[in-house]
């Protein structure tokens, strides 16, 4: 089981959290003017890297707030977590 550091609640068991997929996906600003290829990319296409992955988590059974994490998809190590509207420590 992973040990995930919620930016608000501190380290908690993985079972309190829900995985929310890849982070930093931006909805096209004008859907009606967006072509099918761009819209399909936004809806369905994912980076799915083998290595470090920026992703979203929800502390479902805790503070119920979303945050971002950088996790390695082979070792499952979590390098850092940070609030949705902030930048991670090392990029500040």
């Amino acid at each position: 089981m992973l040990w995930i550091h919620c930016p608000w609640c501190g380290p908690r068991d993985e079972s309190e959290f829900s995985f929310g997929g890849e982070a930093d996906i931006v909805r096209p600003p004008a859907p009606a003017q967006t072509d099918d290829a761009t819209w399909g990319d936004y809806l369905f296409y994912r980076t799915n890297p083998k290595g470090w992955h920026r992703e979203q988590w929800l502390h479902t059974h805790g503070c119920r707030r979303w945050f971002k994490a950088e996790r390695h998809t082979v070792s499952y190590d979590i390098r850092q977590t940070w609030p949705m509207d902030a930048e991670p420590e090392e990029n500040r």
Partner: protein
């Protein structure tokens, strides 16, 4: 190829079984092939076999980064069924089931295909409505199926907990008698041997590290055993579809997740069918060795680690004990994880790609084993002709841009 039969068995018994030949050659990669198949799992080997047998193309290499049967082919729970809701899926999976029915004779290898039927349990009124709808759709597509009530389930599985106060009350089930299980290792070995006999080079310990292209067309692959040229390349991988697509320079609508399974200590015969429950994510059958083979849903997060989380195991084992109280004292022997490439609509991608001559057969998610022969059969057609067969045309990569998804999530008997 030496033919396997009771006579060959008797003949080899006379020499103490010391003269059996390896089932396939340990081929050295040549510099060039007509077709390269990346991935030596069941699907890749079936593709090579049907390419050689049906389409007469024998200049084929199957590149496997590990060993034959070491990937997801050897990690699944071996269930074979075709009771999918949508027409496109029913056509694909039932084609596969029809090939399963003659497979052992066709490839002269006993894949121990046992049509012991599959139950998909319904625990709520809505489950039962969905089951009725799906069974009706199956029958219209020529796929066998019946709706059973609680007593009908109890007749097939007498020890299942059907108490109305159970946490997961069994209100009924769908029943596909033609479904069953097969021996997964034998499927890989049998296809490898049959393809090898038709001249296919099966190259193990050969990892693809790059996809070579010129002017938007594929020209071959780079491997850890040197570059190999080819006119056409078919990528048939599980767990690494995104990595291969990245090498070729495009993205896929796929996320890779761990999927766990485990087997118990061996028991006397107790369960002579396969029972799945989509709502509680547990499915169980009994192998010929007597072990219960138990599978679950995917872990929530993406990953390539071939292991999952304990709470996922706890979840499906608690469901198992609630449904089958007599299993509560069983000890579990082995537990493992595989990596499944899940697509947004829970259907595979068997398709052309943005690169000419490069074809992908990926994204089978949690349910690829059942499709092994059918997947190989349609992909062989695609590789031979350059165009999809009518059966796999709906499973193109373009569907994620046109919106014509084959949405099997929840609607079918798919455990997700």
């Amino acid at each position: 190829m030496q033919h396997y039969s009771v006579f060959s068995l008797a003949r080899h018994a006379l020499s103490g079984h010391r003269d059996w030949k390896p089932a396939w050659r340990d081929a050295e990669p040549r510099r060039r092939y007509q077709v390269i198949i990346v991935g030596g799992g069941g699907h890749g080997l079936a593709t090579a076999y049907y390419l050689a047998k049906v389409h007469g193309i024998r200049d084929i290499a199957v590149l496997e980064k590990g060993w034959i049967g070491g990937g997801n082919t050897g990690r699944n729970t071996t269930i074979v069924r075709s009771n999918y809701l949508w027409d496109a899926s029913a056509a694909l999976y039932d084609k596969s089931l029809q090939l399963w029915e003659g497979l052992s004779q066709d490839i002269n290898y006993n894949v121990m295909f046992s049509q012991r039927g599959v139950l998909n349990l319904g625990h709520t009124l809505q489950d039962m409505r969905d089951i009725r709808r799906r069974v009706n759709a199956n029958r219209l597509n020529g796929v066998d199926g019946e709706v059973l009530d609680t007593a009908g389930v109890k007749r097939l599985v007498p020890f299942i907990n059907t108490s109305p106060t159970s946490r997961y009350p069994v209100m009924g089930a769908s029943w596909q008698p033609r479904a069953g299980i097969a021996r997964h290792d034998a499927v890989a070995w049998g296809f490898a041997r049959a393809a090898d006999a038709l001249g296919v080079d099966i190259i193990e310990n050969c990892e693809v590290t790059g996809v070579r292209q010129e002017n938007g067309a594929v020209t071959g692959v780079d491997t850890n055993r040197g570059p190999i040229d080819a006119d056409r390349v078919g990528v048939v991988v599980a767990g690494h579809a995104g990595v291969l697509a990245d090498m070729a320079g495009f993205r896929l609508p796929i996320e890779s997740h761990p999927l766990q399974a485990l087997v118990s200590e061996p028991l006397k015969p107790v369960l002579d069918t396969v029972v799945m429950s989509n709502a509680v994510h547990v499915y169980v059958s009994q192998s010929d060795k007597g072990e219960l083979v138990i599978g679950a849903g995917i872990d929530g997060y993406t990953g390539y680690g071939q292991r999952g989380s304990f709470q996922t195991m706890e979840h499906f084992l608690s469901a198992l004990i609630e449904l089958y109280p007599i299993f509560s004292r069983l000890r579990m022997l082995r537990h493992w994880g595989g990596i499944v490439d899940t697509s947004p609509d829970a259907s595979p991608i068997i398709s052309k790609t943005p690169v000419d001559g490069l074809f992908f057969n990926v994204g089978w998610g949690t349910g690829g084993f059942k499709a092994t022969p059918g997947s190989g059969w349609v992909f062989a057609h695609t590789l031979a002709t350059g165009e999809p067969h009518p059966i796999n045309a709906p499973f193109s990569l373009e569907r994620f841009h046109t919106g014509a998804l084959v949405d099997e999530h929840g609607a079918a008997a798919v455990a997700h």
